[in-house]
């Protein structure tokens, strides 16, 4: 029994209670210990109300009321926060309604305020050692009416947090500011209060609250309500309570129970019969329900088993499912259903059911037995499906469950032997496969082989008449090198073109190019004037190769170009070349058909990548082609947008636009298609155009082809002239 409590009660009620207690609690051993102490503290209290009934009640229930276990509420130590949603009605301090006297309230305040409480006040004066605050109200859980008590607190300067810059921290505050601070120290005798603006001064459950200057909106609700009451004397507690929003909240009971720490589910009662110790766990609804469900489910299972034995599997399954609905994880139902599944052949489901049953009841004999059988059967199935490792694991599991299960062990042995055999077989096969490997081929590879062979043949042919390679061709070869690098797929067309191809110069070119780039053999075959092949998948693969080569080639090509004219260098340097400049530079290079040449160059670029173009001749202008390459490189690496923008850069040039359209090298078919879509949407160069251009291109092709040798000749002539001039100047 709580001595202090008893003492308090007895001293409050007086001797009469004590005598009653002695009478009622005579058998209580706890009371006897306390009785002696109590007798000393009893004094005849001058009570204005004598309530023997109450005293009788207290005396009778003293063993409950003063038992230490009676105090079940736990002080709720969660984070305190001003709950703006008002789950319950927040009322002003009762003191305000009670009109308690000034002295009493002051006295009570100083008695009850503790370190760590929150107070709100207004700054009255600022000195160099701190500022003084007169309290308006309290906050947190400690609610008192202190406004008119003229309680002042001092916040010393060391408890004022600095504002970051090196100014005087006090300069941030002004007289009249509302301050929320924590109580740091109390001198109860001298009635002095020291406050602090640091969160460390607060109690742990309050330390989230921001201290410092606050505005009127941050004032606690109980204070605001209190002001309303002070102004309107007709406002009573009752009316205020009923009108509060929080009072109408249906859940306020639960919230407040939590806040006060009352236990609502346990039976707290002062009635003898309702003490919690009298309640048996088995009498509770949940326990009875479980038992009941189990027995109801069992009935269904029995029915189901009857059906099963008579062969009515469907009805049996229905009964089992019904049983499991009534009582999920009912062991008997699971085992019976598992057996049914196993009989029907759904072994996996059976295994699941058995395992679930064994989880709830690991010692169920039937479950174990059936599970072993089913595992072995499943293992057999897996063996037939060649899933030997899984089968093995199943057998092992079955054995681990039930060591005496003969079948499982036998099956395991057989399986292990089989596994060894298969391993051997596999080893043999693997070695065979290595031999066989080269025979596996794709059509692309076959094609490549054919081409390679052709190349070899041609090489032999050409090498025979390669003696007439001229130095002047080196330029041309450099011209060739870069374009040809990107052309990997001109196989079929190459054939055609070669047949219809042009003069020895081309051969020479080819030869020289080949000579220059012997390491890059596969590309030798691809030349400017050969048209693109039909789009086959192999070509698709090769595109990537060519791109890589393009990228690797670019510096090479550049180097070669440096040997060329200045214009070339200029043009090369600028990746974002203006088409006009390109045209001009190309013109300076001696290409008479500036746009056309460019167009062609781009066309040929395109041809490499596109399927339906029948364009043949690759471009001669190294710079333009290089630019194309650089462009192509950029294109391939950039998104369709940039390509669009580039396209938009050349609106004026019909041909070039058209050809730039097509001249965009594409990394993938998809991009190509995208571009086709973009082009279509752009409208400027529609499909029709492409088609028409395709039509046009063919004749132009021919003309180009025919023109090419002419162009080349021109270039050579021009170069020769240039050199002559140089010599002349010198």
């Amino acid at each position: 029994m709580d001595r202090d409590l008893l003492r308090q009660a007895v001293s409050y009620h007086g001797q009469s209670l004590f005598s009653l207690l002695k009478c009622e609690q005579s058998e209580n051993p706890d009371f006897k210990q306390v009785a002696l102490d109590l007798s000393k503290s009893v004094n005849q209290r001058d009570k204005d109300d004598d309530s023997p009934v109450v005293e009788q009640f207290i005396a009778r229930k003293a063993d409950l009321l003063f038992a230490p276990s009676w105090k079940t509420t736990k002080p709720v130590e969660d984070e305190w926060q001003e709950d703006l949603r008002e789950p319950f009605a927040v009322m002003p301090p009762l003191e305000q309604f009670m009109e308690a006297s000034y002295e009493e309230r002051r006295e009570h305040f100083y008695r009850d305020v503790e370190r760590g409480d929150i107070v709100i006040g207004r700054i009255t004066s600022i000195r160099d050692f701190g500022f003084f605050v007169v309290l308006l109200c309290t906050a947190g859980d400690f609610e008192r009416d202190v406004e008119d008590l003229e309680i002042s607190g001092l916040c010393p300067i060391r408890d004022v947090p600095s504002t970051g810059n090196h100014d005087d921290p006090l300069s941030y505050y002004q007289i009249g500011d509302l301050i929320r601070a924590g109580v740091k120290d109390i001198d109860r005798y001298h009635e002095k209060l020291t406050i602090s603006l640091y969160s460390s001064s607060l109690a742990p459950n309050l330390d989230r609250i921001k201290l410092g200057v606050i505005s009127k909106e941050d004032l606690p609700l109980h204070y605001i309500r209190g002001e309303k009451v002070a102004n309107d004397s007709s406002e009573t507690y009752e009316r205020l309570l009923d009108s509060s929003l929080g009072f109408s909240n249906p859940a306020n009971v639960d919230v407040l129970i939590g806040k006060l720490g009352i236990n609502d589910t346990q039976s707290t009662s002062l009635m003898r019969g309702l003490q919690s110790k009298h309640f048996m766990e088995d009498d509770f609804a949940s326990a009875i329900r479980k038992k009941q469900s189990a027995s109801w489910a069992l009935k269904c299972v029995k029915l189901g088993v009857d059906h099963f034995k008579s062969g009515r599997h469907v009805e049996a399954m229905n009964e089992y499912n019904k049983a499991l609905e009534i009582d999920t994880n009912n062991v008997e139902a699971l085992v019976a259903r598992g057996a049914l599944y196993a009989t029907k052949g759904s072994l996996m489901k059976a295994i699941d059911d058995f395992e679930l049953a064994l989880e709830s009841c690991p010692t169920h004999r039937n479950a174990k037995k059936y599970l072993c059988q089913t595992l072995v059967e499943r293992g057999g199935q897996l063996e037939e499906e060649e899933k030997l490792v899984t089968a093995e694991s199943l057998y092992k599991k079955a054995i681990s469950l039930d060591e005496t299960f003969q079948e499982a062990e036998e099956a395991l042995r057989k399986l292990q032997m089989r596994i060894q055999k298969t391993l051997k077989l596999k080893a043999e096969e693997a070695s065979k496969e290595k031999e066989k490997q080269p025979t596996v081929e794709t059509s692309a590879e076959k094609l490549r082989k054919i081409l390679k062979e052709e190349k070899r043949l041609k090489k032999k042919r050409r090498r025979s008449d390669s003696s007439s390679v001229s130095s002047s061709d080196s330029d041309c070869s450099s011209v060739d090198s870069s374009p040809s690098s990107s052309r990997k797929k001109s196989k079929k067309r190459k054939h055609k073109r070669r047949r219809s191809s042009h003069g020895s110069k081309k051969h020479k070119k080819r030869v020289s190019s080949r000579d220059n780039r012997t390491p890059e053999e596969p590309q030798e075959e691809e030349e400017d004037e050969f048209p693109l092949p039909v789009n086959i998948s192999a070509s698709f693969i090769n595109e990537k190769h060519t791109l890589a080569k393009l990228l690797s080639e670019e510096p090479e090509a550049e180097d070669r170009l440096k040997s060329g004219g200045k214009s070339r260098e200029d043009s090369r340097g600028r990746f974002e070349d203006d088409p006009f400049e390109l045209a001009q530079s190309s013109k300076t290079q001696g290409q008479h058909n500036g746009p056309g040449v460019n167009g062609r160059g781009r066309e040929t670029e395109k041809q490499r990548w596109k399927s339906d173009d029948g364009h043949g001749s690759r471009k001669d202008s190294s710079s333009s082609s290089h630019r194309d390459f650089s462009r192509s490189r950029k294109d391939s690496s950039s998104s369709a947008h940039s390509e669009h923008s580039r396209k938009s850069d050349r609106p004026s040039r019909d041909d070039s636009a058209q050809s730039s359209y097509r001249g965009r090298p594409e990394v993938s078919e998809y991009e190509r298609r995208d571009k086709a879509d973009h082009r279509n949407s752009r409208g400027s160069n529609g499909n029709e155009r492409r088609l028409s251009s395709g039509d046009r291109s063919r004749p132009s092709e021919e003309s180009h082809k025919k023109a090419l040798p002419a162009n080349l000749l021109d270039i050579f002539n021009q170069i020769a002239e240039f050199e002559k001039e140089k010599k002349q100047k010198k």
């Binding site: 308090q8 009934v53 109450v54 009676w70 009352i262 309640f279």
Partner: protein, 252 residues
């Protein structure tokens, strides 16, 4: 139905004559019956895991029903079961009839096996549901009550602020007041007074029991909390409440 157990009660009420003393005894018997049935409701509430407010609703429904009905016509335990069921619906803590029947069955046959899903079970269930409808009609469908619980909780909060926090934490005021309030549902006192008064009385008694000194100003704290109550009223309610504890001794 479980008529066997209550046959003695019904018999006694019929067999006795109509003299004054015997009618007093009759009244007393009825009171005892009601007490027992309310005890039954509260116990069942605990076993069903009901919160305090739904239990209070169930008891209030029961008391109100028997304000206008008589015990010799209606089987009180059945009415009680239906009150529990209805209260669960009203206070949004829905209970299954199966659980109610299970707990009640076990109350009357302690230690027995749960009921089988047989005809008797279904009949019982039907009875509960029918009786619920009966109660609704008897009460004119006015089944929502203002309970003293939320008043008590708010009062507790306000009074807590008046007291020193240490005094509060060492004195089980909240538990006692809450227990007193819950126990008040054993008798019709719960429906005869305003919820504010009941809550106030419970708190007053709790504070009084432990001898807690609450500061007073011009007015007492209880005068502030509830304008229209007098000390005499508080005391009369208190007496009624305490009488219930005495009744317990007689009934059980």
């Amino acid at each position: 139905m479980q008529a066997q157990r209550f046959a003695p009660v019904a018999e006694s009420s019929h067999s006795e004559g109509r003299s004054g003393a015997e009618s007093a005894a009759l009244v007393d018997n009825n009171t005892k019956t009601h007490f027992r049935v309310c005890r039954f409701i509260i116990e069942t509430g605990v076993k069903l895991g009901m919160r305090s407010v739904p239990v209070a609703t169930a008891c209030s429904l029961y008391h109100k029903f028997f304000q206008s009905a008589t015990l010799d016509v209606y089987e009180p335990y059945l009415v009680a079961m239906s009150c529990i069921y209805l209260a669960g619906k009203v206070e949004e803590q829905h209970l299954r009839t199966r659980d109610i029947i299970n707990v009640c069955h076990r109350y009357f046959h302690p230690g027995s096996d749960p009921m089988e899903l047989n005809g008797k079970f279904w009949e019982l269930r039907d009875s509960v549901v029918q009786c619920e409808l009966l109660i609704l009609r008897q009460l004119n469908f006015q089944v929502s009550f203002e309970h003293p619980h939320k008043y008590l909780l708010h009062y507790l909060l306000s009074v807590r602020n008046l007291l020193n926090r240490h005094a509060w934490s060492r004195t089980p005021i909240a538990e006692t007041a809450w227990a007193l309030l819950k126990d008040s549902y054993h008798g019709p006192v719960c429906v005869r007074h305003r919820p504010q008064h009941l809550a106030l009385t419970a708190l007053y008694l709790a504070l009084h029991t432990y001898g807690v000194q609450v500061p007073r100003g011009e007015r007492e704290w209880w005068q502030v909390l509830c304008e229209d109550i007098t000390r005499a009223q508080i005391e009369s309610i208190m007496t009624e409440l305490l009488h219930l504890y005495d009744l317990e001794a007689k009934c059980t």
